[in-house]
C-alpha cells in the first residue's frame, strides 16, 4: 500500500536486516530457509492478535470449549481453552458424559483465565465441561 493509497499498512517480517539468504532460491525449504518455528509462531500470533485487537471481539453468550489435544490421541496432556460466559469458571472432568457436570467432577474451581491444562488426561476416557462458577 504505497504512494497515493492512504491505507496504513504494517508488514510482519522475519528480520529488518538479516533476511533469509535463501529467499527466491531453490533452497527456500523447511529446515534451511524456514529454520525457526519459534519465530514463525510468534509472528503469526502477533499479527493475529493485532487484527483481533483492532476488530474487537464480541464474546459469545454460550461457552465454547476447544481442546488442542483430544483424549484418545495418546496425549497425557489436554490443553483447554474457551470463550464466552463470565469468569470465574469451574472445570469438570469425567470418564462418563452423563454425570459430567456434577460437583464431584470439578477438577479446578474459580478459574479466571480462559485456559486450563490438564496434565492427568487418560486417552479415550475423559470428557470435559466448563461451567460458570455459581
Amino acid at each position: 500500500m504505497e504512494g497515493s493509497v492512504p491505507v496504513p499498512g504494517i508488514l510482519f517480517f522475519e528480520d529488518l536486516t538479516l533476511l533469509s539468504p535463501y529467499m527466491h532460491t531453490d533452497s527456500d525449504v523447511v529446515g534451511i530457509s524456514l529454520n525457526s518455528d519459534e519465530l514463525f509462531l510468534r509472528n503469526v500470533q502477533a499479527a493475529a492478535a493485532t487484527v483481533f485487537t483492532l476488530a474487537r471481539p464480541v464474546p459469545p453468550e454460550k461457552i465454547l470449549l476447544y481442546a488442542t489435544r483430544q483424549p484418545g490421541d495418546s496425549e497425557q496432556t489436554v490443553r483447554l481453552s474457551w470463550t464466552g460466559g463470565f469468569p470465574p469458571y469451574n472445570v469438570h472432568r469425567s470418564v462418563m458424559p452423563d454425570n459430567l457436570r456434577d460437583d464431584a467432577n470439578i477438577i479446578s474451581e474459580q478459574v479466571t483465565a480462559l485456559l486450563f491444562q490438564d496434565d492427568g488426561a487418560i486417552p479415550d476416557l475423559l470428557y470435559y465441561s466448563i461451567e460458570e462458577f455459581p
Binding site: 500500500m1 499498512g9 504494517i10 528480520d15 532460491t25 530457509s33 524456514l34 483481533f52 476447544y66
Partner: protein, 244 residues
C-alpha cells in the same frame, strides 16, 4: 527491499507505549493460543508440493485453488476470487463485523513464489511465503472454529502476484477504495521463519518509508507494540523499513 533499522522511530514508539498499554483481552489470548504450528507446517508442505507458485505457472493456480477451497470449507460465506489481470487472483474472505461492518481491517499474505534466476528455476517458497499463507489460513481457522464475532469486519486476503511487483495487493486496495470499502489498515505477513544465528530473536515489523509513514501508521504501530507487550510479554521487537 530496503531494510534500515530506525532507532529514532523505535525510541518514539517506546515513548508512546505507556499511552496504549492495556490489559490483554482473555478472548484474544485464548484465540492466539489455538494457533497450531503443526497445521501451518502441513499447509506449507502442501504449498511447496505445488512447485513454483509464480503467478504465471500452474503451481500458482494450484495454490490459489487450495487457499480458496480451505476458506470455503471453513465456512466463509463471503468468499471471492478478485480477478484483476490475466494471471492468478487474490482470494478474499470477508468476516463481517457485528456492529461496525463498514470498519474494515485487512489481514493478508501473498501466496506466490519466485526464483530470482527465472521462471524455469524452482521456487519452493516455504519461508517466502508459505509461512505467511499458512498463517493466514490458521487465522481463518481459529476465527471460524471459535465462532467468535468481532465488532468490526476482518477481511482475509491471500494476495496474488506479489513477487511480480505487489500487483495483487495494489489492485486489491485500489478496487476496495473505488468500491467505497476503504480499509482502516492492513496487517500483512510475509517471510516469517528465518532466524540468523547471529541475530536477536525478535518480532520485526515495519512499513514503507518508516520515518515518514502515511497518516495513521504510527497509531497502528502503537497498537502492535501494545499487543506484543500484552500477549507475548518480554518478547523483543523492532520497527523499521519494509515494503508493504
Amino acid at each position: 527491499m530496503r531494510k534500515i533499522f530506525l532507532i529514532n522511530i523505535l525510541a518514539l514508539t517506546f515513548a508512546t507505549l505507556s499511552l496504549w498499554a492495556q490489559a490483554p483481552d482473555p478472548v484474544i489470548e485464548t484465540l492466539i493460543d489455538r494457533i497450531d504450528l503443526d497445521r501451518m507446517h502441513a499447509d506449507i508442505d502442501t504449498l511447496v508440493a505445488f512447485g513454483t507458485r509464480r503467478a504465471t505457472l500452474q503451481g500458482g493456480l494450484d495454490a490459489q485453488d487450495f487457499v480458496y477451497a480451505r476458506l470455503e470449507a471453513l465456512g466463509f460465506a463471503d468468499l471471492t476470487l478478485h480477478d484483476f489481470d490475466a494471471n492468478h487472483d487474490n482470494v478474499v474472505a470477508v468476516y463481517p463485523g457485528v456492529t461496525e461492518p463498514d470498519e474494515i481491517y485487512i489481514i493478508g499474505a501473498h501466496y506466490d513464489s519466485i526464483n530470482d534466476l527465472g521462471p524455469a528455476f524452482p521456487a519452493p517458497g516455504a519461508d517466502d511465503n508459505g509461512t505467511g499463507t499458512s498463517g493466514l489460513l490458521e487465522v481463518a481457522r481459529i476465527i471460524s472454529e471459535s465462532e467468535i464475532r468481532f465488532e468490526a469486519t476482518i477481511t482475509l486476503v491471500a494476495f496474488a502476484s506479489e513477487e511480480l511487483g505487489r500487483i495483487g495487493s495494489k489492485a486489491f486496495v485500489a478496487d476496495a477504495i473505488a468500491n467505497g470499502k476503504i480499509p482502516q489498515s492492513a496487517i500483512v505477513m510475509d517471510v516469517l521463519g528465518y532466524h540468523d544465528p547471529g541475530s536477536t530473536l525478535d518480532i520485526s515489523f515495519g512499513t514503507t518509508d518508516a520515518a515518514n509513514p502515511i497518516p495513521g501508521t504510527m497509531e497502528l504501530v502503537d497498537v502492535i507494540v501494545s499487543v506484543i507487550e500484552g500477549y507475548l510479554p518480554g518478547y523483543p521487537w523492532e520497527y523499521g523499513d519494509t515494503c508493504t
